[in-house]
Symmetry: C4
Subunit: 232 residues, 4 copies
């Protein structure tokens, strides 16, 4: 297992706190080493302040613990389902950040109301359906992952262009190429949700921005001829 | 009196500030040593930053001060009524945290709108009735405790499954097995109240989550086969 | 001029920042030494972080600068009008704290919606009328003070029982026996305004609490038989 | 290029973070040395915490990089258009601060609802029109600057009296004589937008303040006989 990646996973877990995204222990970050097929994830219910690389739990894509003394996050099976289906992604973040969670609880998708959103999410962040009683009683966290994959496929969305989902009655997941990108997407999602709430207070009819602006902001940051940032 | 418990009570009082739950001196934490039947509680109107174990006031369940030079919290009789009636609990927290207090002032119960809530409160956090003029002029803080106990019994709620109440015209109380659990419940209550306000802005019709999801989240964290956390 | 009071005025000005009440330089605290009839006030437009006792400007009740090298706060004449008319008070605080300022801008009085409010303000915090073009062009800051005094007298309010006002189109003033009490009233006003906004979102019909609860909380904290705090 | 100005630009960029105006790297500050006609601007996508004078990119008014190893902010052409047309200004700030961005996304101008606003902005902060598909596909950031200049000229506004604009579907820009003034205007704009949202929740009919109050506050701070601050 890549040691640098494990440190990035620890750093991103701790940044959940410094960025104001988590309360108590309501959040977790994992990262996958695609070479070995191993995933490092936060242990369940452990304080972020105490977290070190040694606390991380390493599991394979089948969910077997291959390293670590603690129990992995209770959401581990959701992370694994995303890694198995979205081969482009390298990290997954789950939080209960308040504004994005409000959209999840309300069952309302987060449309692209401005360029802040367009810079991170290529269109409306969708809501995944509520799980059935059978799914909940059965393999709940696995079924959660299945519902995310199902929703992105229904909408024909590329996971790197739409690196976020809102789980009905629950909270958001985001992902990205690295723990830092996945974390940035959680930060951006929370801020876009916060701004959408205020935008609708001012103008209940505000809907998605014109597609030429959405396309432009997506392309200038993520396209082949991107010119945002230092080209790293 | 258990000295470790006294330190936990001091720590939880100070955490009221670091967690953003209190303004000025609007909040207090107590803990009970069931072996001796003694309760350690914050002194009234003392700054949290200055608080040490020596400042705590120790009272028995009848309300007599048995140790400490300061006057106990003005809310002491409310805490004692909860300890006398809810033998399962070991600590009580009172705050005027803004979002939960808004629900109290509005007289609106806080329904379970998502899994964040389900992880801490098994259903709607109820509102206790306003006190009568006779109760207020009489033994006000005692009557406050009576109204809390009365409401949980009316609703046939187990105090460890519903470790919170909203006092009409006033503010919330929470409780738990230890000062840390009682504090966590105050933190969770405030965040659930904040998220409910935003959820209803987005969807005024959002009501409680399906019971199979409520049951699942309660069981995975608090049930006999709980698998959240490290089994501590 | 009382040196201890000057330090209290500096401390309270700096606490405006740490308590989150001011942005940029939008706020000021003064204190009066009733023995000498001298008022120490923040200089205009000076950063709080740099403020020391030597920066304070000392003026007499007629508004003449008797000590200090800087220009006093542009709001000085408002403070002086309050000191001349409310002989019970020892300090005045002015902020543009956002929630209380929203009530000022909306021209909506802040009713007592709960015990948090009742502990500090004995009834609805009133709105002072907008000033006329003649008053604004003339001695604007003096006229502001006149409008505050006028409003409290119209409503027959005791300045220590109602230590706050909302200026129409402007922002709040608070006062108290000492700089600390006046500051606490600004902190309490902002929080009560914040909670009122959320209370009305939940229940637009929420109006003032029953008078027996208002009276009880006022008496237990401020009455002859008060039992909140340590009797200091 | 003026070295003191470069340090001011660095300081103002870092103050974007400490003042809570930016999330991730969503903001930038530039300053112009009118003697040399050179502009120092933040490099694109670089963390504020790491920023030093040596990272700044220096460009001339035609947009050619004359000093610096990094790529300039992707918004550079917008800044330059403002410097070319508003000869009175010395610095430009762009943020996606949440409340001001909500006004931009909603396409709602920010009217002067109180003296806080009047102290900084002489009337309603206007919204610049959305760009056309041709402008967006073409020279997008240049066209953004053109739309700002166009809107101020349409409304016959003096850039130092109205040092802010809301870009439709995007976010605000502010400016001023120095980086510090331009930054203060971004801070003031965000707070005025926050207070306007709450003012309208309380009173949906609240509209601009009487012109005699607007004029008074503008004059006492910015007029020939200004008496706010220390006359610096």
């Amino acid at each position: 297992m890549n040691q640098e990646l494990k440190q990035q996973v620890v750093d991103a877990n701790m940044a959940l706190v410094s960025s104001g995204l988590v309360t108590l222990t309501w959040g977790n970050v994992s990262g996958i080493d695609r070479a070995s097929g191993l995933v490092a994830i936060k242990p369940s219910g452990v304080d972020y302040a105490e977290l070190t690389v040694d606390h991380l739990v390493v599991v394979n894509l089948a969910g077997d613990v291959v390293d670590g003394d603690l129990r992995p996050s209770s959401d581990t099976k959701t992370h694994l389902e995303l890694y198995r289906n979205f081969s482009e992604i390298g990290a997954v973040v789950h939080t209960h950040s308040p504004c994005a969670t409000a959209f999840s609880q309300a069952g309302v998708g987060l449309p692209c109301l401005g360029t802040t959103h367009a810079d991170h999410f290529f269109g409306e962040v969708p809501v995944a359906r509520a799980l059935t009683p059978e799914e909940v009683v059965g393999d709940y966290e696995h079924a959660t992952g299945v519902s995310i994959v199902e929703r992105l496929r229904e909408l024909e969305l590329n996971p790197l262009e739409m690196p976020a989902i809102l789980l009905k009655h629950h909270a958001p997941f985001t992902w990205g190429k690295t723990p830092q990108y996945a974390l940035d997407n959680s930060i951006a999602l929370e801020m876009c949700a916060k701004m959408a709430l205020m935008t609708w207070q001012l103008n209940p009819d505000a809907r998605r921005i014109p597609s030429h602006i959405l396309n432009k902001h997506h392309e200038r940051k993520h396209g082949a001829a991107a010119y945002y940032g230092q080209g790293k």
